[in-house]
């Protein structure tokens, strides 16, 4: 009974800030009040299945998948280095990874602008040493870079926290039984770190898929992701129905990807355990 009482504030919090907004998205996605009366409609849901929006969703998936992959390839080794016990600079490095997150997200992305612009710092340096100007901004590369930069810590930290907790005696046992380094990693460490990998992927892929700030700033408003289209419906065209329907679709797609990732993750953990 007393436990329940403690949970009560959280319940109110969740109702106000999670359940109600979700309900509102559903409400706007399935209603229309153009005629002055609020009526049920499937128009918005039908409207989202236009090739145009599907193309944008495809582009968003493509770019956030690449960003997630890059984060993983960069983040996993970083997490391993952090977790290894003979790494003496561990705390310094942890702080360096977390430090940028203390700064405002917009500010960090804006500062990339002054680096990547055609007249930005990097290009000025390239020109001054005789190499020509390279277009670093206003393209897919810049947007993916922005995603990787902003979400990399969310890949490293979950993997790190799982790696640190792996029982060292399991690794030693594998070595005693004659497994070499690569084999230990593939058969023991990697499978055991799978929960961290899954949450790392979740935490980078989801925000990358729905971002609109990174794409707008670093592509100069040229590359439109699904987040931008949704934002546009809410701020410029005022079509909240379509915007909500697109948000719903995005949520469903994220939900499906999460099921997929989690299932895959569980299986490999299981497989790792069996082997």
């Amino acid at each position: 009974m007393s436990k329940r009482r403690f949970a009560f504030p959280y319940l109110i919090w969740m109702t106000i800030f999670i359940v109600v907004p979700l309900f509102l998205i559903f409400f706007y996605a399935f209603t229309d009040n153009a005629s002055g009366k609020t009526l049920f409609t499937l128009e918005h849901v039908k409207a989202i299945f236009q090739p145009l929006y599907l193309k944008v969703i495809g582009r968003s998936f493509y770019m956030s998948l690449i960003a997630t992959l890059v984060c993983f390839v960069m983040g996993y080794p970083a997490a391993m280095i952090l977790a290894s016990k003979d790494f003496s600079q561990k705390n310094t490095m942890l702080i360096l990874i977390v430090l940028p997150m203390w700064m405002n997200f917009l500010l960090r992305t804006y500062s990339w602008l002054s680096l990547l612009e055609n007249e930005g710092l990097i290009n000025r340096f390239l020109v001054s040493i005789g190499l020509g100007q390279v277009q670093l901004m206003y393209n897919n590369f810049a947007v993916i870079l922005g995603m990787v930069y902003n979400f990399l810590p969310f890949m490293i930290l979950p993997i790190y926290s799982v790696l640190v907790k792996i029982d060292k005696s399991v690794v030693e046992a594998a070595k005693d039984l004659g497994a070499n380094g690569a084999r230990v990693f593939l058969r023991i460490i990697f499978p055991l770190s799978m929960p961290g990998v899954v949450s790392g992927i979740t935490m980078t892929f989801m925000p990358a898929l729905s971002t609109f700030v990174i794409s707008r700033l670093l592509s100069g408003g040229k590359i439109t992701l699904i987040g931008n289209i949704i934002e546009q419906q809410f701020t410029i065209t005022g079509d909240w129905g379509l915007g909500s329907a697109l948000s719903l679709l995005l949520m469903v797609l994220i939900f499906i990807s999460m099921i997929f990732i989690n299932k895959y993750g569980d299986e490999s953990v299981g497989a790792g355990g069996l082997l």
């Binding site: 007249e119 100069g220 040229k222 410029i236």
Partner: protein
């Protein structure tokens, strides 16, 4: 008992705080970004004792959605011509009692009795300007006098367009020889396709950032509002501005009082204050946009007054038109612009 006392005391404290806040009159102002000399607001607060809550928007559409759907209340807003027409149509504005705005007398006649508010009942002109091409003379070798140059492959990845649907659609419609206020779906579609075809040449679609980028030399050509051009040309001598010969858009941003304003008398005071000559001059100098007052213009520096970018002759603007609002066409423009950006 002690507990009850604490609660009672805190209730009294909270009440007394809200009391304080209510004592001071508050005015909520909603204006474009970078569209005022912020010192003007301090001066207004000092002179009247009214506290100004100042917020900004990026485009007319952005402002309209916040106002019509967000259930927020502002006392003074600065929309453009066609948006004022829309807000009058939708009964969102209240008539302004011009007796309380004596400085309205200073407004030049060319800015009065315009089609969006024919009897000057709802709006008081603030700043005006045109839309044209800002270009960098060191990067552009051709003569810039036509919208065509924005489709010239030579300047691929050197062109900035406006991330503002009416302005960008206007460029494409006029290039096709249509009216910028067309309500013909077929013409809107053609303009949309033209903008999609242009996309590979465009470096970015921006609004407030264009000025700084052009000053830095980031792009060669940009569609901008005249005031941005004035400000940019002051910072970089290589820049020039032209109103294309096919015609363009001219606009005036005016101050209006929405129906749900909470402090109408302060709004009137503020509007009157903004029309004062010294305040007009401060805002003109800060923003680079052209003032609507016939008395304040005499107080500007001579260079400024004779600047043809800021104050083009009627002849230069002979092909320029105001945007007009049409409910059905707005749906078409919204859709077309979404398709351009999504592509």
């Amino acid at each position: 008992m002690k507990k009850a006392l604490v609660i009672l005391l805190s209730v009294i404290m909270v009440l007394s705080f809200t009391g304080c806040a209510k004592d001071r009159e508050v005015l909520n102002v909603y204006n474009w970004g970078e569209y005022i000399d912020m010192e003007v607001l301090d001066m207004f607060e000092e002179e009247t004792g009214i506290k100004v809550n100042y917020n900004t928007f990026v485009t007319n559409e952005d402002m309209y959605v916040k106002l019509s759907k967000g259930r927020v209340s502002y006392d003074v807003i600065f929309p453009s011509d066609y948006m004022i027409q829309r807000m009058i149509d939708e009964d969102m504005l209240q008539k302004i009692n011009m007796d309380n705005v004596p400085n309205y007398f200073n407004i030049a006649d060319v800015h009065k009795n315009l089609s969006f508010d024919p009897d000057n009942e709802y709006s008081v002109p603030y700043l005006w300007g045109t839309v044209g091409i800002l270009y960098n003379k060191t990067m552009v070798s051709d003569t810039v006098d036509s919208w065509d140059i924005l489709w010239n492959e030579k300047y691929s990845q050197k062109i900035f367009m406006q991330d503002s649907q009416r302005d960008s659609m206007m460029v494409a419609l006029i290039r096709l020889g249509y009216s910028q206020n067309t309500t013909d779906q077929n013409q809107v579609n053609q303009a949309r396709d033209l903008l999609i075809a242009q996309k590979p040449l465009v470096l970015g679609y921006l609004v407030d950032e264009v000025k700084d980028k052009m000053v830095q030399g980031e792009g060669a050509l940009a569609v901008v509002w005249s005031g941005e051009a004035v400000a940019a040309m002051e910072l970089n001598e290589d820049l020039a501005f032209v109103i294309p010969k096919e015609g363009s858009n001219r606009w005036v941003d005016s101050m209006v009082i929405p129906k749900n304003a909470k402090n109408v008398s302060a709004a009137e005071k503020f509007i009157n204050f903004m029309l004062r000559d010294d305040i007009m001059v401060m805002n003109a100098n800060e923003t680079g946009y052209s003032i609507t007052s016939k008395t304040a213009i005499e107080l500007l520096d001579e260079d400024w007054r004779n600047n043809l970018v800021a104050f083009p002759t009627e002849e230069m603007m002979s092909e320029c038109e105001f945007f007009e609002y049409n409910a059905e066409a707005t749906v078409m423009y919204n859709k077309a612009w979404t398709e351009v950006t999504a592509n």
